[in-house]
C-alpha cells in the first residue's frame, strides 16, 4: 500500500509538472503564463524533495520560483505599456510562426542530448560520491553539498557569483529602474506585514546561512531571502532611493566576489593553490565566504528585480513627489 501510494504520488506530481510547463508555455495570456510558471517552479521544488535533494529544492523555491517570479512580474508591468502602444491589446502574446522549424530543431537537440547521455560508459556514473563522503570530515562542513560547493568545487561557485554580477552589469546597461518617489506605504495592512516580516526574513536568512554548514542550506538560499526582504520593501513603499545610495548598490554587488577572490589570491601568496584552505581552517573560511556571498547574492538579485540602473531624484538627495517629477518632465 505504501509503495502504491508513493508511486501514485510521484506519477501525479510528474504529470502535474508536465501539464504546468505545457500550459505555461502554450497560453496566450502572459499573466497566466507567469503564474503557471511559478507554480511549476514550486512543484519542481516538491520533486526535488522527493528525489532527496533538499538543497536544490530550497534554491528552486527561493530563486527559480520566488525571485524570478517577482522579476517576471516586474517585466510584465513594463511590457504592458509598450505592448499596448504597439497593438492595442496589452496582455496577449503574438502568434508564433513556422512551428515546424522550432519543433524539428528541438527534436534534434533532444536527440543529441539523449545520445550523449546514453553513450556515457556505465562505470562513470556515481564515481565521485565515495571520495566526496570520505573527505567530508576534513572539508570543514558537515553537509556534502556545501562541501562540494565551497571546498571541492569552490572555483565554480566563484564563477557563479561572477555570473550574477555580469547579469547586473548587463541589465544596468540596458535599462533604468523607476525614479525614486515619496515612500508612502501602500495601505496599513501591507505596512504592518512588512514591519513584522522584514526583520523576521533577515533572521530566517541568517538561519539558512548557518544551517548550510550542517544541513540543507547555504549562501544562495540565504541570499535569495535577503533579496526577498528587499523585494518586499520595494513593493510596500515603492522605489525610494536617495542619490548617494548608488555606491551601496555597486559595493554590495561586488562584495562577495571581492572577498572570494581576495581569499583565493591570499592563499596563493601563502604558497598553496588558489582557494586551497589550510588544514583545520576550512570551516571558518567557508563561513566567511558564505556570509560575503549572501550579501552579494541578495543585493544582485534585488538589483535584477529593480530592473535597471538607478535614476537620480530631481533634486540631489531629496525625495520628490511622483506628481512633481511628472510635472517637470
Amino acid at each position: 500500500m505504501i509503495d502504491l501510494a508513493a508511486k501514485a504520488f510521484d506519477a501525479l506530481l510528474a504529470g502535474l509538472i508536465l501539464w504546468l510547463a505545457w500550459s505555461s508555455l502554450s497560453t496566450q495570456d502572459i499573466l497566466k503564463g507567469i503564474v503557471l510558471f511559478i507554480a511549476f517552479g514550486l512543484c519542481m521544488g516538491l520533486a526535488w524533495v522527493r528525489l532527496n535533494a533538499p538543497d536544490i529544492a530550497l534554491v528552486e523555491a527561493a530563486v527559480a520560483s520566488g525571485i524570478t517570479g517577482a522579476m517576471l512580474l516586474g517585466a510584465w508591468n513594463k511590457m504592458r505599456l509598450s505592448l499596448a502602444k504597439m497593438r492595442g491589446d496589452e496582455t496577449k502574446l503574438p502568434e508564433p510562426g513556422r512551428p515546424w522549424l522550432h519543433i524539428s530543431g528541438l527534436m534534434a537537440m533532444g536527440g543529441a542530448l539523449g545520445w550523449a547521455i546514453f553513450s556515457i560508459p556505465p562505470e562513470n556514473t556515481g564515481g565521485l560520491l565515495v571520495p566526496a563522503m570520505r573527505e567530508l570530515p576534513r572539508s570543514g562542513v558537515g553537509n556534502p553539498v556545501t562541501a562540494a560547493l565551497l571546498n571541492y568545487r569552490a572555483y565554480d561557485t566563484l564563477l557563479e557569483i561572477g555570473v550574477l554580477l555580469l547579469a547586473v552589469v548587463g541589465v544596468w546597461s540596458i535599462a533604468k529602474s523607476r525614479k525614486p518617489a515619496q515612500g508612502v506605504p501602500r495601505g496599513p495592512i501591507l505596512y504592518g506585514f512588512a514591519r513584522i516580516s522584514a526583520p523576521l526574513l533577515i533572521l530566517i536568512g541568517g538561519y539558512f546561512l548557518w544551517l548550510g554548514t550542517s544541513r540543507a542550506g547555504g549562501a544562495f538560499q540565504a541570499g535569495a531571502l535577503m533579496a526577498a526582504v528587499g523585494v518586499l520593501l520595494v513593493l510596500t513603499y515603492g522605489p525610494t532611493r536617495r542619490v548617494p545610495a548608488e555606491w551601496i548598490d555597486r559595493w554590495g554587488s561586488i562584495f562577495g566576489l571581492t572577498v572570494f577572490l581576495t581569499l583565493g589570491i591570499g592563499f596563493m601568496l601563502q604558497g598553496r593553490a588558489m582557494l586551497e584552505y589550510s588544514a583545520g581552517s576550512a570551516g571558518a573560511w567557508i563561513l566567511v565566504i558564505e556570509s560575503a556571498a549572501t550579501v552579494s547574492i541578495g543585493w544582485t538579485l534585488l538589483l535584477l528585480f529593480l530592473g535597471g540602473r538607478p535614476q537620480a531624484a530631481s533634486q540631489k538627495g531629496i525625495l520628490v513627489e511622483e506628481d512633481e517629477v511628472e510635472g517637470q518632465a
Binding site: 495601505g187 495592512i189 501591507l190 506585514f193 513584522i196 516580516s197 523576521l200
Partner: protein, 101 residues
C-alpha cells in the same frame, strides 16, 4: 500504533478534510471573493491540524517550534495576501456575486 500515533493520525485526517473542503470551495464557488474565503480559512486551518499531527509524530521540541513558526508565518502571509487580492479586485470594479432572485 501507540496513542501518540493515533492522535497524530486523527489530527492529520481532520486537516485533510479541511483541505478537501477548501479545494471544493475553490472549484465550486462562483466568485473570487468566496474563493478567497475558502482558500484562506479552510486551508490554513487544515495546515494547522496537519502541523499539529506532524509535530506530535516527530516528538522533537525543536521541530515542533519550527512547525509552529511556519504555521504562524503562513497565517500572517495568507491574511495579508488575501486582503490585497480582495482590495485589488474590488477597486478593479468586480462586484460580489449575488444570487439572482
Amino acid at each position: 500504533m501507540n496513542g501518540i500515533e493515533v492522535l497524530a493520525s486523527i489530527f492529520i485526517g481532520i486537516g485533510l478534510l479541511f483541505f478537501i473542503a477548501g479545494t471544493a470551495g475553490l472549484l465550486r464557488f462562483p466568485d473570487v471573493y468566496m474563493r478567497l474565503h475558502a482558500l484562506t480559512k479552510a486551508d490554513n486551518l487544515g495546515l494547522g491540524f496537519i502541523s499539529l499531527g506532524v509535530g506530535l509524530q516527530t516528538g522533537s521540541w525543536s521541530i515542533g517550534v519550527k512547525l509552529l513558526l511556519i504555521w504562524l508565518a503562513v497565517l500572517l502571509a495568507s491574511s495579508t495576501v488575501s486582503h490585497l487580492i480582495a482590495r485589488r479586485a474590488l477597486r478593479g470594479g468586480m462586484s460580489p456575486w449575488r444570487r439572482e432572485q
